[in-house]
């Protein structure tokens, strides 16, 4: 047999090595696809209010401080801080943090960002979190000092808001605003945005967290239907989806192909009273209704049990929340409720309207259960189901008797309670004015010793439950549904996607 020629062997070897070379080509990109049901409405962190926008900003920007998954304030751009007296805060910034345009972040950028937030011309929703700041001093390249006009215990928590992100000044000046522009320092950078379709973010290779992010790309896909979102996760088309519909979550939990992460969030379901409209101007009537509604039943029916009953401070904020069992009206007492109604002059009950909407926030299901339960004390509720825009309009004009609402609570009690229940609070749509509640709200905001603050807020939670400008029902769960290929993701109760920074995808 003829010996194979050297040439042939050489050719074979080259081919084999070539093929091996092709297989040793650069590893495939690690891409996470996130399904969301709403498109972002602009991405300027100092201007936007929509949750959908916040989820993108979670990944593109940093703030001075952020919340971890237990609502504890931890360093973000500031690696440490001092509070020499209760109207002065000094932040020491990390060194070597780069904006996505390559420039290093310094104290000047913090000063610029906070000033932009405080400027009335910006009309920033973040202003109310930091409104007591009178001046921002640049002490040196990496140190910035905030001076307040009065103590504000919730300042640090307020600074964790996406509305208080630190932005690059030159980007704002070049574009007027940042609605379409990325001017952040975050783990991911904006590459591409096709509205109502997808947004592509790429890894920030110079992110200050060593090794992170692990993903090369994050793609947001807008898929309006909840059922389509679940179908997408099951088929592997999307890796992670934020699903809020209870029935869909239940379906997902039964499916072994997907993983459901669920935990009580900071949002709060409440039954609001317009305390200026009869008969709800009489606290006894409000208390009677508070004694009748059964939180567990409403939670079980309206949200398929996916949540936890709560008082005025979201139950997930374990540092501050008084357990529901220790608050008044923890469980229904129909006899007492009827007695109170009789005392108030309504022995035969009365009828009134509950304003709600068919959207998730509008709580139609909650209203329906409440309607049934209130029959037990002879009270007839008529449901006024309106379109979402009309619902908001009625809320703004205070044109309602009672309403089902979904409020965004906070881990830090002052941030939510002050604006909501202070007699001149910006979102006090109950038109509730109570001197004692005001007193404790002011105390809680200015006290600096933790034990004192805890005492004030404990008292406040009991007061608010007793005076019932609203009935505090439950905190629904935050849910994320993901495929088994996703690891390293953690849920934060305010819906933040921050932990995508540490997420990996295995294919």
């Amino acid at each position: 047999m003829k010996r194979p020629s050297i040439m042939l062997i050489a050719l074979l070897a080259v081919t084999l090595f070539g093929a091996a070379g092709a297989f040793a080509a650069p590893a495939a990109q690690a891409v996470l696809t996130i399904g969301v049901d709403q498109e972002a409405v602009g991405i300027d962190p100092h201007i936007v209010t929509a949750f959908s926008s916040m989820r993108r900003i979670d990944l593109m920007y940093n703030r001075l401080v952020r919340l971890d998954d237990n609502f504890v304030v931890v360093p973000d751009l500031a690696e440490s801080w001092e509070v020499p007296n209760n109207v002065t805060y000094i932040f020491h910034l990390r060194k070597g943090v780069k904006f996505h345009n390559g420039r290093e972040l310094t104290a000047d950028d913090v000063q610029y960002s906070l000033q932009r937030i405080l400027d009335p011309k910006t009309a920033s929703p973040g202003r109310s979190y930091v409104s007591l700041i009178t001046s921002i001093d640049v002490v040196d390249r990496y140190t910035v000092k905030l001076n307040l006009s009065a103590p504000l215990a919730s300042l640090l928590d307020g600074l964790t808001s996406n509305n208080c992100s630190i932005v690059a000044k030159e980007a704002v000046e070049a574009n007027g605003n940042l609605q379409k522009t990325d001017a952040g320092t975050g783990p991911f950078m904006l590459q591409d945005w096709i509205p109502d379709n997808s947004m592509t973010l790429v890894k920030n290779a110079s992110y200050f967290e060593k090794g992170a992010p692990y993903l090369d790309k994050v793609i947001f896909r807008v898929i309006p239907e909840q059922a389509s979102l679940l179908a997408g996760v099951k088929s592997g088309d999307i890796d992670l989806a934020t699903i809020s519909d209870g029935a869909t979550i239940r379906q997902a939990s039964k499916d072994s192909k997907v993983v459901v992460m669920s935990k009580p969030g900071l949002n709060m379901r409440i039954f609001s009273f317009n305390t200026t409209k009869k008969p709800f101007d009489d606290v006894r009537v409000r208390q009677a209704l508070a004694m009748t509604l059964n939180r567990s039943e409403i939670l079980g029916i309206a949200e398929f049990g996916m949540g936890k009953p709560t008082g005025p401070v979201p139950v997930a904020a374990t540092q501050w929340a008084v357990p529901v069992a220790k608050l008044p009206y923890a469980s229904p007492d129909i006899a007492k409720a009827k007695k109170l109604l009789a005392e108030a002059g309504y022995p035969k009950g009365f009828s009134f309207k509950i304003t709600c909407s068919a959207t998730y926030e509008g709580g139609l299901a909650v209203a329906q259960v409440a309607q049934e339960e209130l029959k037990k004390i002879g009270v007839t509720a008529e449901l006024e189901v309106v379109e979402w825009g009309v619902y908001i309009d009625k809320w703004v004009k205070r044109d309602f008797e009672t309403m089902i609402e979904l409020r965004g609570g906070s881990g830090e009690p002052d941030r939510f309670l002050y604006r909501t229940f202070y007699s001149t609070g910006g979102v006090n749509n109950f038109l509730f004015k109570d001197a004692e509640v005001d007193k404790y709200l002011d105390l809680g905001r200015t006290q600096t010793v933790l034990a004192d603050r805890k005492a004030s807020y404990n008292k406040l939670q009991t007061l608010l439950t007793e005076k019932a400008p609203a009935i505090f029902l439950y905190c629904p769960n935050e849910n994320q549904v993901m495929g088994k290929q996703v690891s390293g993701f953690k849920l934060v109760g305010n819906g933040s996607l921050f932990y995508v920074t540490f997420t990996k995808v295995k294919r």
Binding site: T49, P125, D196, V222, A227, K234, G389, D393
Partner: protein
């Protein structure tokens, strides 16, 4: 003919003017405003911030003044900025037009390809059995709700990636094959219902025409069945079908809202829906004007096709 077209195009001006007044004032009668939606129930603003916000959202002047200002800008081609996103209105709307156009053409093509032959066949009464089958299928096509059919398709095809858009819509100019694959199911969802309508119109029209004397004459002359049906009967029966097709084209070009929602397609329908939800006045006004224009143009094209198909129809009423 040319004069006729010009006259019809000129009629666009009073139509659009009327539509602009109606939409501008009507949409502001709905309770709720873009500013309120933006603030929601969580945001606090100081009085100075509110003044600035009212200026940004265009609520600082009386409505008639705002209308005149808006009209002036429109005439210069400036359609303003979305109150929701701050993006310029016209480019966003125009960028969605190709998708709506594609969806319309595909749906109509499917509907005509299925509906007309079915309609003809069922009008020939070959045997009562197939007649019943056709009628039942037709009824199903009419009664099946579009959103239900669409949702079923999404669930059934979720595992075959590439057939369901799922928020990664690819334009025709970028990748025609994948684009057509993604639009096939949505077009089918629309087309089935439309095919049923067209089938019925075709069948009824054909039944009428086949009774006519000239058909009997044609048969007597010894022409083949195919020539009789296609050349003589169909040409006369097709007119009502053109009307229906034309009307539906105008409607579809305005955006198939339900289909776009279920299949997550970035079309004009979804843009209009969310603009209305969020009271995004500049976008609503611009889209309504665009749809009005589309309707007028589609009507014009329909009339021209009529004239081409039926020589008895004379378009210009001058010169009798």
């Amino acid at each position: 003919m040319f004069r006729y077209i010009v006259k019809r195009l000129l009629s666009l001006i009073p139509v659009l003017f009327g539509v602009s007044i109606i939409v501008f004032f009507l949409v502001r009668l709905i309770p709720g405003s873009a500013l309120e939606m933006y603030m929601g129930t969580q945001v606090e603003a100081t009085p100075e911030q509110m003044i600035e916000l009212q200026r940004i959202f265009g609520e600082d002047k009386p409505v008639p003044v705002l209308y005149v200002e808006w009209l002036g800008r429109i005439l210069q081609g400036d359609f303003g900025y979305s109150l929701r996103t701050g993006r310029p209105v016209l480019p966003d709307i125009l960028s969605r037009l190709p998708l709506s156009l594609e969806l319309t053409i595909l749906s109509l093509a499917l509907a005509l390809l299925i509906g007309i032959p079915q309609g003809i066949l069922s009008s020939l009464k070959r045997n009562p059995f197939s007649d019943v089958i056709n009628r039942v299928i037709g009824l199903l096509g009419l009664s099946l709700p579009q959103f239900w059919l669409a949702s079923l398709m999404v669930l059934a095809f979720a595992n075959f990636s590439g057939w369901i858009p799922m928020g990664n819509y690819i334009k025709f100019s970028v990748d025609p094959i994948r684009n057509l694959r993604m639009l096939l199911l949505p077009s089918l969802a629309i087309g089935i219902g439309l095919a049923a309508v067209i089938m019925r119109y075709t069948r009824n029209s054909m039944l009428e025409v086949l009774q006519m004397d000239y058909i009997r004459t044609a048969k007597a002359k010894g022409l083949t069945k195919r020539v009789v049906i296609l050349r003589h009967a169909l040409k006369n029966a097709i007119l009502p079908v053109i009307t229906v097709a034309g009307f539906n084209t105008g409607y579809l070009l305005g955006g198939a809202i339900v289909i776009e929602e279920v299949f997550a397609l970035p079309g004009m329908g979804r843009l209009a829906l969310y603009a209305i939800y969020q009271r995004d006045y500049p976008v609503i006004q611009a889209i309504v004007l665009m749809i009005a224009t589309i309707f007028v143009l589609v009507n014009l094209v329909t009339d021209l096709i009529y004239a081409m198909v039926d020589p008895r129809i004379r378009l210009d009423d001058g010169g009798r």
